[in-house]
């Protein structure tokens, strides 16, 4: 029993946030909508955190995984498959694609990795439009297949489960040999390699893990908007938001992206209300400010300011 007590105490920050989100989602449908967005952002930023926070690899192409998940989901649903199974299939296919992309792209380092991953977003988008794959630029409309099965609570709770799963995964990874290897190669790639870390293998595994849940989230997104088209589901904005949230919360911590997603969504809502149309402008400048002034994000600031909170900020 003592172990359970310790665990609850240790993870109380995480548990508190999740409980609050569940409570909020039950109050009213307006809150449910907000919780849905928070959880969506949480899933994509937490998964990015595994490769970006621990491995130090800035993947600007995270949006591709969402797009692949959405497309696989749409293609399977059109075939008549159960939407929830299709979501999981989307995640798995997204991981498989991450493996294929990773073999090529993860050989590159630093800015070259960033250039290539950033370029994957337009590349995949134009491959779909230009190759007229899955409907080309017009995409696939899903209302016909999913209109009756739509249930906003179900979608939100799938994201919640994904988010909890990825939190547990992150905790496991950060305390595992894989996590230490990733942190080592974040600090110094060459030293890690000479110390016997199989860097390529580590990076590919982390890349695959980080692609799984965005794939599932892509399916949820497609379910939510009933329409899969290149311009909306393979959107660079997802990449930007994921990177922003990881930096805002605190890169390389488990709770960082969770806090980051909540703060980001609240900020975005406020900005939309008071400065409509200016959100991305302000967020772009915010990232510049964070990276110049507080590169460790909110978690880093809290850790320095409140020593007693330290044990909760994992």
């Amino acid at each position: 029993m003592e172990d359970v007590g310790d665990a609850v105490k240790k993870y109380s920050g995480l548990i508190l946030i999740y409980l609050l989100l569940i409570l909020l989602s039950l109050i009213s449908t307006a809150y449910l909508e907000i919780v849905y967005y928070v959880l969506f952002l949480m899933v994509i930023s937490q998964s990015l955190n595994i490769i970006m926070g621990f491995g130090g690899l800035y993947n600007f192409g995270h949006a591709v995984f969402i797009g692949i998940g959405a497309y696989v989901f749409a293609l399977l649903v059109v075939q008549g498959l159960n939407p929830y199974i299709s979501m999981i299939a989307g995640g798995i296919v997204s991981s498989a694609v991450a493996f294929l992309i990773g073999i090529v792209v993860l050989r590159l380092r630093g800015p070259f990795f960033a250039i290539c991953t950033l370029s994957t977003v337009p590349a995949v988008k134009y491959l779909i439009i230009g190759g007229k794959i899955a409907g080309g630029a017009a995409g696939i409309t899903l209302f016909r297949y999913l209109g009756e099965a739509y249930n906003p609570y179900m979608l939100t709770y799938i994201l919640l489960i994904s988010s909890v799963a990825i939190t547990i995964l992150t905790l496991k990874v950060s305390a595992s040999p894989l996590g230490y290897s990733l942190k080592a190669l974040r600090e110094d790639h060459d030293v890690a390699e000479t110390s016997g870390v199989d860097t390529t293998r580590c990076k590919i595994i982390a890349f695959i893990i980080s692609a799984l849940f965005p794939g599932v989230a892509g399916g949820v997104l497609a379910f939510k908007i009933f329409w899969v088209m290149p311009e909306t589901v393979i959107d660079l904005t997802w990449s930007i938001e994921a990177i922003l949230i990881v930096l805002l919360g605190g890169s390389g911590t488990t709770i960082g992206p969770i806090i980051g997603a909540v703060v980001y969504e609240v900020l975005k809502d406020l900005l939309m209300r008071y400065f409509p149309g200016l959100q991305l402008l302000i967020f772009g400048l915010l990232v510049v400010a964070i990276i110049s002034v507080a590169p460790e994000g909110i978690v880093g600031l809290l850790k320095n300011r409140f020593k007693r909170l330290r044990s909760f900020l994992i």
């Binding site: 250039i115 290539c116 370029s119 491959l127 230009g130 007229k132 930007i240 302000i282 990232v287 110049s292």
Partner: protein
């Protein structure tokens, strides 16, 4: 068939020269300070808007507005360097400049949207067409090509015949040794960044001529991919590599729609960016120094 091949080659070379000029700044900045300037595409868009507003407000054609847009680019480059880049140059995380310039690019694109709306705009500048018996070309394209060559000569002159250019090349070679020899590295970095930004602006102003109705705040997304392909194909850090890369991409963009047109069931124009991405990956894996290597 011969006419088509000739037309494609000429258009490819002309557009390639503009692309090369537009990417030179990216290469220069990477060479001088090891920063991949993700804002480059937005600077280019700003250059395009400069040409547009010069046309609408003062009546200058895009080529006549080059000095104006170069000056603007230079000033904005100095600002960006001192406010954002310089303090991040020596940060322990090598990615911080990358993320900061990327975020700045997003913010600039949004700023342009707020200021000038997301409408598609264009400069309807036309001077007629030169016709040969088997081939024709707009006169504006000829002027563009000539001004490209002139600007490249000016850049060559700046880099190889002035003290500033010498110090830039010294910093590219070895910034520590340059500092020991009395080069003011900080000022050189600032001027290098400003020169790169001015080149992006000029490139943007010239690209306007090919885009009858294509100027909008988000045009940078596609040009960023193009710039990366050009920079990597030519070899990052080598300003002349950008020209070679530009020619490769210019020709590819002219040839591939025609070739892809033979494949049934595809949209050749949209598939071209994907092809250029493949080239980016292949070049990075096989010859990461680019087709020209790291010549200085």
């Amino acid at each position: 068939m011969f006419e088509l091949v000739f037309q494609v080659l000429v258009y490819g070379v002309i557009i390639g020269a503009v692309y090369g000029l537009a990417t030179m700044g990216l290469n220069l900045i990477w060479g001088v300070m090891r920063v991949v300037n993700f804002t480059h595409a937005e600077l280019l868009t700003l250059g395009a808007y400069t040409a547009y507003w010069a046309w609408v407000l003062i009546g200058l054609n895009p080529i006549a507005s080059i000095p104006l847009s170069a000056l603007l680019g230079f000033v904005i480059g100095i600002f960006i360097f001192y406010i954002i880049i310089y303090r991040l140059l020596f940060s322990p995380d090598i990615h911080s400049t990358l993320v900061a310039t990327f975020a700045l690019g997003v913010a600039l694109a949004e700023l342009m949207k707020v200021l000038w709306t997301a409408d598609y705009r264009g400069v309807p500048w036309a001077l007629g067409v030169i016709k040969f018996s088997w081939f024709s070309i707009p006169i504006t394209y000829v002027f563009t090509f000539i001004s490209c060559i002139l600007i490249i000569i000016i850049v060559y002159f700046i880099l190889y015949r002035t003290y500033f250019g010498k110090s830039i090349r010294a910093v590219i070679w070895d910034s520590g040794a340059a500092a020991i020899c009395g080069v003011n590295v900080k000022a050189t970095l600032a001027l290098g960044f400003a020169l790169g930004s001015a080149l992006a602006f000029i490139g943007g102003s010239l690209i306007v001529i090919y885009l009858p109705t294509g100027i909008n705040p988000y045009m940078g997304h596609l040009y960023l991919l193009r710039c990366f392909v050009i920079a990597v194909v030519g070899g990052l850090g080598n300003p002349w590599g950008a020209l070679a890369g530009g020619l490769v991409l210019g020709l590819l963009e002219q040839v591939s729609p025609i070739v892809l047109g033979y494949i049934p069931g595809v949209e050749p124009l949209s598939l071209t960016p994907f092809l250029s991405f493949l080239i980016l990956i292949i070049v990075l894996l096989i010859m990461p120094e680019g087709i020209l290597g790291r010549r200085r």
